[in-house]
Symmetry: C2
Subunit: 251 residues, 2 copies
């Protein structure tokens, strides 16, 4: 069932979903067609099917948005809301005792995806968005996920490019490699002003039956941070979630 263009219908449908992004949450039909690389009539037909199912919704402004039905199905992803449901009570406890930002992330390919975030109202502002992506080599959660990623993933990331966010970001592969070994040795990661100059994060691994599956962190203002005091707190939280992950449900 390959279409004449050589692309399968499935890939065209998925390309329509790929057209949306954090900065493009609402698209007209012609924008959708262009971004998906589809002729307008093809896009029109597929979009109508996606709307009928609820994967897309059409607003009064004639723009299409990702539909609630897709969010519902997406909420069944064990690495998304499934993990989040297990982790949230622990994240809330960590928030209650620190009133700092608490973040939960998993690795997706060569990046991380933020699964949950509790943003302290008076804590240092963070730029992360639930569902948003970020590089692995800069944040605390990213360093934990990278340190425990398969060797080939580490090599690909180390091969670069390693974006520089601040003057303290590890963009030297040798230095980063040493940093990752240290993360594995001590059991936590500290990202000291490597994303923004006003913040520091302390992250610890969350282990499932198949190894490290996620990471949890506290992101605090640099000037009031005491990373060595925070590390055991974050590690303990990571262990509680790890136990839940390896529990009877065996997610």
């Amino acid at each position: 069932m390959q279409a004449r263009s050589g692309r399968s219908v499935t890939s065209k449908v998925l390309a329509l979903l790929d057209a949306f992004g954090p900065t493009e949450p609402a698209l007209t039909l012609s924008e959708l067609a262009r971004r998906a690389g589809l002729p307008l009539p093809t896009a029109h037909r597929r979009v109508a099917e996606l709307v009928a199912w609820g994967a897309l919704e059409r607003g009064d402004d004639a723009r299409y948005r990702v539909g609630l039905r897709l969010w519902e199905v997406g909420s069944l992803a064990p690495r998304g809301l499934g993990l989040r449901e297990l982790a949230l009570p622990v994240m809330e406890d960590l928030y209650e005792v620190t009133h700092e930002n608490v973040q939960l992330a998993v690795r997706q390919g060569l990046e991380l995806v933020f699964i949950e975030r509790i943003a302290g109202r008076h804590a240092v502002p963070v730029l992360t968005r639930v569902g948003g992506r970020f590089a692995l080599h800069a944040t605390g959660v990213g360093l934990v996920l990278l340190a425990h990623a398969p060797a080939e993933v580490q090599e690909q990331v180390l091969a670069g490019p390693l974006d520089r966010y601040t003057e303290l970001t590890s963009t030297d592969p040798k230095r980063l490699r040493r940093q990752l070994a240290e993360v594995r040795r001590v059991g936590y990661a500290i990202s000291d002003r490597q994303v923004t100059m006003d913040a520091l994060s302390v992250a610890a691994p969350i282990r499932g039956p198949d190894g490290v599956q996620a990471a949890i962190s506290l992101v605090v203002a640099y000037d009031r941070a005491d990373p060595l005091a925070l590390a055991p707190l974050v590690q303990a939280a990571g262990r509680v979630i790890s136990r839940a992950l390896s529990g009877p449900h065996g997610r």
Copy 2:
């Protein structure tokens, strides 16, 4: 591009996604094929494409689960995480001052979908799941959403069947109709032991540019509930989120 069976390829792909549910988060290929009503070879081909894109993930147990990529795209739904991002700080405030369960829901057809929930550790247990569905005629959020739904939606729900969860659930259309009129008049809904005999919820509408788009509620233990004291609190929270929804971003 209709397949020989009369079903379009798009509908087959979507049927594979429909196969998953809260009680069926992990399926083998043959379970997937059966639930989607597809021949095994067809299912195999489509599933491979969905795995390649990341909509599904295959575990070491040879079962398929909803993939993180689908969760990422779903997180772009304005009625899902978009609404949730705006509402969460207000929900957290409501939780801090009450330490009760706080829920956020939207209507999807003739049901409601829970978008977010803060479960009080010592509050009355609630059965809701983020991404889960429930009937409109029993819960506080449901009554608010139903009271402000288009007339044809109200008529369809009133035409029944109206499931009975407790002896206090409104299953009489006449009584329910009066209840909905009252919800519109006073600006909030009280579900008094209509879902479980130990709980009461107080809900208020969240309005966007196109009318009521969501509802927020507190769910408290019946024996310590003072609904008339809680109502203004929930209404105020609804108004703060409404203002955010109608803000410059114009979601």
